[in-house]
């Protein structure tokens, strides 16, 4: 059994309509997009350089006012993308199926801005406890997945995986398991990161000159068990302790090809998320190998 992809949605700096990302990729070729001024997205001062935020996110226009006024940006992106993915799949959620439809979202640490701003208020307010209780759930990393479930009334398996650039692959693995084990019939599987001054500065400070500014967006797939059509054939992740990332990646490649039942020669495209950053051992960024394999469907 593969995981059939029955719907998808993406919101990125390229836009939020169905073909936006493909149009951007086609238009840009092999160039690096310079980014855009992100001033309208963040109220705070930003580091210099282009950013990759989606400036057109209007939660109220997309979702209405009810229940959305305290969303942070990550939550808004996730809830909108989940709704778009459900619509793309033509999936009507009702009392018959809502217990069997779940959501699993990937993140790095939830909303850095929400947690940091909450902490800031405990430091700068006259009384340290005078924080806004309504914003407290935004400081918890499962906020986006929980609010997506509330908005779309999805009562099945609901999870959040934290793993930076690798988290989406962990999320697909998690959803695959939930479907294979019979815990859910359909899973919305996605990843979300919000643009904020916090992330923009963190990216600028950490990247040490590689020049790619922070971006944001959400991507959600609707996955279900079965064969035929576009599908996730296999996913493998692993860890390379003590600087053994390269060997771990090789192991992932072998395992994912074996699990997909394809030879290396059958792979038509190998996409990487390589940023050209230095890899640490146990310092900043342990090697975290991941492989995506796309093959022509049989």
């Amino acid at each position: 059994m593969s995981l059939r992809i029955t719907g998808r949605a993406a919101i990125s700096s390229a836009g939020d309509h169905r073909g936006a990302l493909a149009e951007r990729l086609a238009a840009i070729g092999s160039d690096r997009h310079p980014g855009i001024p992100a001033g309208p997205v963040a109220a705070e001062p930003l580091p210099s350089g282009g950013m990759h935020a989606f400036p057109g996110l209007d939660i109220r226009q997309r979702l209405g006012r009810r229940g959305t006024s305290f969303y942070d940006r990550a939550t808004g992106l996730a809830v909108v993308a989940c709704g778009d993915a459900l619509a793309d799949a033509g999936l009507a959620v009702d009392d018959e199926n809502r217990h069997r439809i779940g959501v699993v979202l990937a993140t790095t640490l939830g909303s850095f801005k929400s947690t940091s701003d909450y902490t800031r208020d405990t430091l700068t307010n006259e009384k340290p406890y005078l924080v806004n209780p309504v914003l407290f759930p935004n400081t918890v990393m499962n906020c986006a997945a929980g609010q997506s479930a509330i908005r779309h009334r999805l009562k099945g398996v609901n999870a959040t995986l934290a793993g930076g650039p690798l988290a989406f692959f962990n999320a697909v693995r998690y959803a695959d398991n939930a479907i294979r084990r019979g815990y859910a019939d359909i899973m919305l599987v996605g990843a979300v990161e919000e643009f904020s001054a916090h992330r923009a500065w963190a990216t600028a400070i950490e990247a040490a000159g590689d020049g790619i500014g922070a971006g944001d967006g959400a991507a959600v797939f609707v996955l279900t068990g079965g064969d035929g059509g576009p599908a996730v054939r296999a996913v493998a992740t692993g860890y390379g302790p003590g600087g053994s990332g390269a060997a771990a990646l090789t192991g992932c490649v072998r395992r994912v090809l074996a699990a997909a039942g394809v030879s290396a020669a059958e792979v038509t495209l190998l996409a990487t998320t390589e940023l050209g950053r230095r890899e640490g051992t146990e310092s900043g960024r342990p090697p975290r190998p991941s492989v995506t394999v796309r093959t022509s469907s049989p």
């Binding site: 001062p45 217990h99 640490l109 850095f112 700068t124 759930p137 997945a145 934290a162 992740t237 900043g284």
Partner: protein
């Protein structure tokens, strides 16, 4: 062919004891781990107590990772993982490391790192954030710390499903083992006491002053706590082949989602989660000897949890106690500590008490909270509850080894 899964190692790093023996003795004695908070300056907060791991000394335990490069929550996870591996007598040189995974749950990840960076932002602006601290920030590092410390090559996964996250982690570990993907999984959770959660719970009206008293009529809230709770889960086949001692068998688990409110628990969905867990584990409610409660000590949680128990188990449910009365609410580690307490209950034959309990709650007279003193009991099947913000319910079923 589904593999049977057993628990072979326990690694608690808690406010009432580090290591399985100390933690078990403290549970049996009904000891409190609550003290005045020192992890941040609580001056100005109306309530100033929590369940901190006082004198936490990770360098005494950790062999491979440097405490200078990892945040407090990662250190809790790695230390708990090291303790669990030692408790399981796991010879890391002899296992297939590519089939050894780490799955760690958390609510707030490296919250202490967020707070240190925020102090830098407040003092000197965004540009003053330390690159060394930023490198410690990603929450996925909690599982990586365990993988790095023990040299595990399998999946290294952090589940951020808030206060039920350890049960999610234990559940996913169970599936990796049951389906033959893994031989060994280090699973549990970790979190650290922090200002923002202390403030947030206070403003929700969910924080009590000095004594958490779950299921008491006059209960008034949680105390935030911290620590690391990791278990070694292993296929029965693997455990048997290396002559390991099995504390307990993992029978299965259930998860679902309220999808109603970000913080208020939903009785019907929680009851349904119990039924899902029983069904997946092949357990009848009449077989459950003990429920290790989520039991936060807030008026709302304990009432809803008790009503869900009564809905599923009837008017005479098994004893229901909350170890949060002793260690506070350790957030993402909470259901990991619950799982460890459940395993100890099975292995040593006693029910951990709910301490600080004075008054029966007339709304839930059916609930026996095992008040104040541990109780000898034959414990064959335990239900370990975990509920969370976001409506993330997860329940793990554990049984005596067969």
């Amino acid at each position: 062919m589904t593999q049977r899964v057993v628990v072979t190692g326990l690694g608690p790093v808690s406010s009432i004891g580090t290591g399985a023996a100390d933690f078990a003795a403290a549970l049996r004695a009904g000891r409190s781990g609550i003290s005045r908070i020192t992890g941040f300056d609580p001056t100005g907060f109306p309530h100033q107590h929590g369940g901190e791991v006082c004198g936490f000394d990770p360098a005494a335990w950790l062999q491979r990772i440097s405490t200078a490069k990892w945040g407090r929550s990662s250190q809790f996870a790695a230390t708990a993982g090291r303790l669990a591996a030692e408790d399981a007598k796991l010879d890391l040189e002899r296992i297939d490391r590519s089939r050894a995974h780490a799955v760690i749950g958390t609510t707030s990840g490296e919250s202490v790192v967020v707070e240190a960076l925020t102090a830098q932002i407040v003092a000197d602006g965004f540009g003053a954030m330390s690159p060394d601290l930023l490198a410690q920030l990603p929450a996925g590092r909690l599982a990586h710390a365990v993988s790095e410390e023990l040299g595990l090559h399998g999946e290294s996964v952090t589940l951020a499903t808030a206060c039920s996250a350890s049960n999610y982690a234990i559940g996913y570990a169970y599936d990796l083992l049951a389906t033959g993907e893994a031989d060994v999984v280090l699973a549990g959770g970790a979190d650290s006491v922090c200002r923002w959660a202390h403030a947030g719970f206070y403003r929700l009206g969910a924080l009590t002053a000095t004594a958490c008293s779950p299921f008491d009529r006059d209960r008034s809230g949680i105390l935030t706590g911290e620590g690391g709770a990791v278990l070694v889960l292993e296929t029965l086949e693997h455990a048997t082949s290396r002559g390991a001692y099995a504390y307990a068998e993992m029978l299965g688990y259930g998860v679902n989602c309220d999808a109603t409110h970000p913080v208020a628990p939903d009785r019907a969905t929680i009851a349904e989660c119990m039924r899902i867990a029983h069904r997946n584990a092949g357990v009848d409610p009449s077989e459950v000897d003990y429920i290790c409660a989520h039991g936060t000590g807030t008026p709302a949680n304990d009432l809803v949890e008790a009503q869900a128990v009564i809905e599923v188990f009837g008017e005479r449910p098994p004893p229901v106690s909350s170890i949060k009365s002793m260690i506070g609410h350790t957030m993402g580690a909470a259901s990991g500590f619950g799982a460890i307490a459940s395993v100890i209950a099975i292995e040593q034959g006693f029910l951990p008490p709910t301490v600080n309990w004075v008054h029966p709650d007339p709304q839930i007279p059916q609930i026996d909270p095992v008040p104040n003193q541990a109780r000898p009991a034959t414990v064959r099947v335990v239900q370990n509850n975990g509920f969370a913000f976001g409506g993330n319910n997860a329940i793990v079923m554990l049984g005596s080894p067969r």
